[in-house]
C-alpha cells in the first residue's frame, strides 16, 4: 500500500495527471468494436435513401441466399416484437408524436431510417448482402423547411395529421416572476428601443470520434449488452421496457466510450435491433456503424428558428424580452428531443435582471434525422440569442457592448437572485470575471487598433466579440424534472468500499467517456478519506458493478455524481467510528478523524482506515455492536442546479475582400466554482470552445431538396482541424456554488455555450461600419462576403 505521507495537503485543486491515460495512449483500450466473442455474428443495416416514402415491398431472397448470411430481417418480421422507442419527456400533456419504430414497417420518415438488417458470419458478408436487399418505395413529399413544416404545408407523418408536436410557453406575468412583456415592448416603441431579430440556429451533428457500436451476448442466463453509450443505465431500463425482458436479466456495459457530447445520450434503434438479432439467432451479434451512417442516423442537434424581441429604455436598460422558438424535432422524438428547447427556456435572460419575459416554444416534425441533445442542449441557443441582441442594443445606444452588459447584469452583491424566468441563481461575480477577461485580452488596446484600422480603411478589419454567459447545469433536482414532465429523476448514486488490503473501490453511477472521472473521483475520495490517490480505484459504466446510476450528461457528473461519492465517503468515516472506538477501547466522543486516521484525543493511540478495514475483514475483535463493514452507498439528489458563468472575449480579423475570418485571440474567463482538477477543467473548456467556435464558423448539417443529407461524410461536414482553431487563453475566477457541499459547478458545456456568440459578435463588430448587422451561421467566407455586399447596398 502506498503511504499517505507523500499525499499533498489537499487533492482539491491538484492538477493530477489522468489515470485513464495509461491505457488510452498505449492502445490497451476496450472500445465496443474491439469485443470479439465466440460465434459472433455481424449486422449490416439497410437504410432508406428517401426522406419520406411508403415501403411497398422488400425482397430479401437474394440477400438471404448470399454466402455467410444467417438471417435477413425486415420491419414486418418484427413489427410485433420491436415495440416503440421511448420519448422520456412530454413537455405538454397533449404532446403529439408518431410511433417510433426501431425498424420502419411500412413508412419511412427520414433518409437513413432502417428498413432491414442482415445478420451474417462476417461484417463484409453482411455488408455485401445488405446491397442485395431490394426495397421498393413509393416516394412521398417530404416536409423539410422548418417554418413551412410548422404551418403544416406538407405533413411529415400523414397519420398524425399535423407537424406540431407541442406548444409550450413561459410568461413572467402569468408565473408571477415579472411583468408583462407586451406592455414593456409597447412602452419601448414609444421613446425607447425595440430590437427585433430572427436568428437561425443551424442543424449540427455531435460527431463523436468513435462511431456507435453494440455487441449483444445472449448465450448466458443474463443477456450482456456492450454499447458505446453515455447512458448504460438508461439503456438497461429501456431494453427491459421496450422489449419486455426482465431488467434483472440484462447487463449493460459502456466500456471505453469515444466521446458523446450528448450524441450518445440516447436509446437507439440499433441497440434494440442488435438485441433482437441476438435473441432471434441465439448467438452474439455485433453492429458497428460507419461514419456515414453515424452522420446520417445518429441524432442531430440545434436546428431552431428564434424570433427575438428586446425592449429597452433609450439609455439601454432592458425592460423585457420576448422569444418565439420554432424547433425542429426531425422525424421522431428521441429520448429528450422534445425538451431540448425547454432546457434553454430559463436561460434567455442570461446574466441580466430585466423585469419581463415571455418565451414560446413550438416543436415541429420534419422528414429529417431526429434531433436531441448536443453539448449545451438548449442553452447555447439561449445564450447566443441574448448575447447577440445585447450587442445590437449597444450599437443602438452607441455605447461599448461591455458597458451595456454592465448596466443590465446582476451585481455580485445581489446574489442569491431570483430571475425573471423563475430560477434562483445562488452565486456569481460577473464583474470579477469580466475585469479579468478584459485585462488578459488587452481590451482597450484592441479597441484602439480597431479604430485605427477603421480609420485607415484597412481591407482587413478587426472585430471584438463579447459573450457574458451563465447556464443552468448539473441535471438535475428530481423534483424539478418531475414538475417539467420528465419521467426520470436526476439523483446520482455512489458506493465507497474499503478493501482488506487498504485499497479503496469507488463505484459511481456516472458514465464517463473522456471526462476523467477515474482521476477526479480518486481525488475526491483520497481527499476525504485521507488515503493515497493511487490507492483509489473508480469503477463505472457496468450495470452489474454500478448497480444504480443516471449516467453522464448535462454537466452533472461532479456536481451531482461527485457529491454522491463524497456522501458515500462520509458514511464510511461514520461507519468506521464505532468500530474504531471498540478496537481502541475508547469512547466515540473522544475520537477525531483526520488524515485517514481515527485518533483518541490527547493520546497517540489511533487506527488508520486501512487498519480498520483489515480488522473488519478479520472480524476477530468485533463485539457485534456495530455492523462489521465499512462500505457505504449514498444517493444524492441535488437541491438545485449549478450556475457557472464567465466572460469570453474574441478578436477576429475579417478580410472584407474575401470574407475570410481568422480568430486572432480568444480569452475565456470561466467561473465554475471550486475546481477539483484544473487540468481536466481546462481541457473541458478547450473542447467546449472548439465546438462552439465550430458552430459559429464551420459546421452545418445540410439537406438537399429531396431530404438527403449532403454533409454525409467528414469531407462535407467540417469538423475543425488543428489549423482551424486558435490558441485559447483560459483563466478562472472562483465563486463557490452554495448548492453543494464542495462549491463546485458544471464545466462540460460552458465553453460551447459561451463561445458561439463571442465569435459572431466579433465578426459583426468588425463589419458594422460597413452596414452589416448580422451574419448567418456558420459564418463561411461566402456568407460574410455576401453580408458585406448587402451592407454596402443598404
Amino acid at each position: 500500500m502506498t503511504t499517505t505521507e507523500d499525499r499533498p495537503a489537499t487533492e482539491i485543486g491538484n492538477p493530477r495527471l489522468r489515470k485513464e491515460d495509461a491505457r488510452l495512449i498505449t492502445g490497451r483500450t476496450r472500445w465496443t468494436d474491439n469485443i470479439v466473442l465466440p460465434g459472433m455474428q455481424h449486422i449490416a443495416m439497410v437504410r432508406s435513401p428517401f426522406a419520406h416514402a411508403r415501403i411497398t415491398s422488400i425482397d430479401t431472397e437474394a440477400a438471404r441466399a448470399a454466402t455467410g448470411v444467417v438471417a435477413v430481417i425486415t420491419g414486418a418480421d418484427i413489427a410485433d416484437e420491436q415495440g416503440a422507442l421511448p420519448n422520456a419527456w412530454a413537455v405538454v400533456s397533449d404532446q403529439q408524436a408518431p410511433v417510433h419504430p426501431s425498424m420502419a414497417v411500412d413508412h419511412v420518415a427520414f433518409a437513413g431510417e432502417i428498413v432491414a438488417m442482415v445478420i451474417a458470419r462476417t461484417a463484409a458478408e453482411a455488408n455485401d448482402a445488405a446491397e442485395l436487399v431490394d426495397v421498393d418505395y413509393e416516394e412521398l413529399a417530404p416536409a423539410l423547411e422548418l417554418r413551412a413544416a410548422a404551418r403544416d404545408e406538407v405533413i411529415a407523418h400523414p397519420d398524425l395529421g399535423t407537424n406540431v408536436s407541442a406548444v409550450w410557453a413561459y410568461d413572467s406575468a402569468e408565473s408571477g416572476t415579472g411583468g408583462d412583456v407586451e406592455a414593456a415592448i409597447a412602452a419601448a416603441r414609444n421613446g425607447g428601443i425595440v430590437i427585433e431579430k430572427e436568428i437561425r440556429q443551424q442543424r449540427l451533428i455531435p460527431a463523436f470520434m468513435e462511431p456507435r457500436a453494440i455487441v449483444v451476448d445472449p448465450t448466458t442466463e443474463q443477456m450482456t449488452v456492450w454499447s458505446s453509450t453515455q447512458v448504460p443505465h438508461f439503456v438497461r431500463i429501456f431494453i427491459a421496457l421496450v422489449l419486455g425482458i426482465p431488467e434483472s436479466k440484462i447487463r449493460v456495459i459502456a466500456p471505453d466510450v469515444g466521446g458523446g457530447f450528448g450524441g450518445k445520450l440516447q436509446f437507439t434503434p440499433e441497440e434494440v435491433l442488435t438485441v433482437i438479432a441476438a435473441r432471434r439467432t441465439g448467438k452474439p451479434c455485433k453492429y458497428c456503424e460507419t461514419r456515414s451512417e453515424s452522420l446520417m442516423a445518429a441524432h442531430h442537434g440545434r436546428d431552431q428558428w428564434q424570433q427575438v424581441t428586446l425592449a429597452a429604455t433609450a439609455d439601454g436598460t432592458v425592460t423585457g424580452l420576448k422569444v418565439e422558438l420554432t424547433v425542429d424535432m426531425g422525424a421522431y422524438l428521441g429520448l429528450v428531443t422534445s425538451a431540448i428547447p425547454l432546457l434553454g427556456a430559463f436561460m434567455y435572460n442570461g446574466i441580466y435582471k430585466f423585469p419581463s419575459y415571455h418565451l414560446g416554444i413550438t416543436n415541429v416534425f420534419t422528414n429529417k434525422t431526429w434531433t436531441d441533445a448536443y453539448r449545451g442542449a438548449g442553452r447555447p441557443e439561449a445564450t447566443y440569442a441574448i448575447e447577440r441582441v445585447m450587442d445590437e442594443l449597444a450599437a443602438r445606444v452607441g455605447v461599448d457592448p461591455l458597458e451595456i452588459r454592465e448596466r443590465n447584469w446582476i451585481k455580485h452583491e445581489e446574489f442569491p437572485f431570483s430571475t425573471v424566468s423563475g430560477l434562483q441563481y445562488d452565486s456569481g461575480n460577473y464583474e470579477a470575471a469580466t475585469a479579468k477577461a478584459r485585462e488578459l485580452f488587452g481590451y482597450d488596446d484592441l479597441r484602439k487598433e480597431q479604430a485605427e484600422r477603421r480609420e485607415s480603411g484597412d481591407p482587413v478589419q478587426l472585430g471584438i466579440g463579447i459573450s457574458t454567459y451563465t447556464e443552468m447545469c448539473g441535471l438535475a433536482p428530481s423534483r424539478w424534472l418531475g414538475s417539467m414532465g420528465y419521467v426520470g429523476g436526476g439523483w446520482e448514486h455512489a458506493a465507497v468500499r474499503m478493501l482488506p488490503t487498504g485499497k479503496v473501490e469507488v463505484v459511481t453511477g456516472t458514465s464517463p467517456h473522456g471526462q476523467g472521472h477515474e482521476t477526479a473521483w480518486s481525488q475526491l475520495v483520497a481527499d476525504r478519506l485521507g488515503v493515497a490517490f493511487e490507492d483509489v480505484e473508480v469503477l463505472h459504466g457496468d450495470t452489474q458493478v454500478a448497480v444504480r446510476g443516471l449516467d453522464t450528461y448535462g454537466s452533472r457528473s461532479l456536481a451531482v455524481g461527485g457529491m454522491a461519492v463524497l456522501a458515500a465517503a462520509d458514511k464510511v468515516i461514520e461507519k468506521a467510528k464505532p468500530i474504531a472506538a471498540q478496537l481502541l477501547e475508547a469512547n466515540t466522543d473522544d475520537l477525531d478523524f483526520s488524515a485517514g486516521r481515527y485518533g483518541v484525543r490527547g493520546t497517540d493511540a489511533g487506527m488508520t482506515l486501512a487498519e480498520l478495514a483489515f480488522a473488519v475483514f478479520q472480524g476477530h475483535k468485533l463485539d457485534g455492536s456495530a455492523e462489521g463493514c465499512l462500505d457505504a452507498d449514498a444517493t444524492l439528489d441535488p437541491d438545485d442546479f449549478s450556475f457557472p458563468h464567465g466572460t469570453h472575449l474574441c478578436a477576429v480579423e475579417v478580410d472584407t475582400e474575401t470574407g475570410e475570418t481568422k480568430i486572432r485571440s480568444y480569452v475565456s474567463v470561466d467561473d465554475v466554482g471550486v475546481v477539483v482538477n484544473p487540468l481536466i477543467v481546462e481541457g473541458q473548456v478547450h473542447g467546449g470552445l472548439a465546438q462552439g467556435i465550430a458552430q459559429a464558423l464551420y459546421e452545418e448539417a445540410v439537406h438537399d431538396d429531396s431530404g438527403t443529407l449532403i454533409t454525409g461524410s467528414f469531407d462535407q461536414y467540417l469538423l475543425p482541424g488543428a489549423p482551424d482553431l486558435p490558441r485559447f487563453e483560459t483563466a478562472r475566477t472562483e465563486t463557490p456554488a452554495t448548492t453543494n457541499q464542495l462549491g463546485v459547478k458544471g464545466v462540460g458545456e460552458a465553453g460551447t455555450i459561451a463561445s458561439t456568440p463571442a465569435v459572431v459578435n466579433a465578426i459583426v463588430d468588425a463589419l458594422r461600419p460597413l452596414g452589416v448587422t448580422d451574419v448567418v451561421m456558420p459564418c463561411t467566407p461566402y456568407r460574410v462576403w455576401k453580408a458585406i455586399q448587402e451592407g454596402a447596398q443598404s
Binding site: 495512449i25 483500450t29 474491439n34 470520434m209 468513435e210 457530447f261 478547450h686 482541424g721 488543428a722 489549423p723
Partner: protein, 156 residues
C-alpha cells in the same frame, strides 16, 4: 485470397487476406491490434494512422496487400520494455487526450511530424496534424504535447 507477409510491431505474420481487405481491418481483425481504430470511411479523421516502414499512413486508405513485405508499427508497438515513447509520455503530461479515440492516430502522426521537423512551431504542428481530427481537446494541449516531445528529443 492473397498471401502476405507483414512485420507488425516487431513480429512477422504470414496470412491469407481478401485482396479488398483494408490494412486497418487486417490489423484489427486478423492480428488483434485493436489499439488502432476506425473513425471514418473517407480517410479524413486519421484515427487509424500507423507507421509503414517508419512513415505515417492512414491504414484505412491502404490495402493489406500493399503492406506485403513491409514493416508496420502501431500504437501497441511504440513503448519498449515498459517505457513509454516520449510522444506517449508527452500526451499524458500535457493532458492531450480526453476520450482517447483519436489518440493512437494522433500520436503516430505526431511522431512522424517531429521526425520531419524536430523543432516545430505552433503553426507547424497544427498544419502537420491537419489530417487528424479530435473532437474533445480543441487541439491546444496536443500542440503543447508535440512541442514538448520534440524538445525532449522525441524525434530520435
Amino acid at each position: 485470397m492473397t498471401r502476405i507477409t507483414v512485420k507488425v510491431d516487431g513480429s512477422s505474420f504470414t496470412d491469407e487476406v481478401e485482396p479488398r481487405t483494408l490494412l486497418v481491418h487486417y490489423l484489427r481483425e486478423q492480428l488483434g491490434k485493436t489499439g488502432t481504430v476506425v473513425g471514418c470511411d473517407t480517410g479524413n479523421c486519421g484515427s487509424c494512422t500507423v507507421h509503414l516502414d517508419g512513415r505515417s499512413v492512414k491504414s484505412c486508405s491502404l490495402l493489406a496487400v500493399q503492406a506485403d513485405g513491409h514493416e508496420v508499427t502501431t500504437i501497441e508497438g511504440l513503448s519498449t520494455n515498459g517505457q513509454l515513447h516520449p510522444m506517449q509520455q508527452a500526451f499524458h503530461e500535457h493532458h492531450a487526450l480526453q476520450c482517447g479515440y483519436c489518440t493512437p492516430g494522433m500520436i503516430m502522426q505526431s511522431i512522424d511530424l517531429i521526425a520531419d521537423n524536430p523543432d516545430p512551431s505552433d503553426e507547424d504542428v497544427r498544419l502537420g496534424l491537419e489530417g487528424n481530427l479530435c473532437r474533445c481537446t480543441g487541439y491546444q494541449n496536443i500542440v503543447k504535447a508535440v512541442q514538448a516531445a520534440a524538445a525532449a528529443g522525441g524525434a530520435q
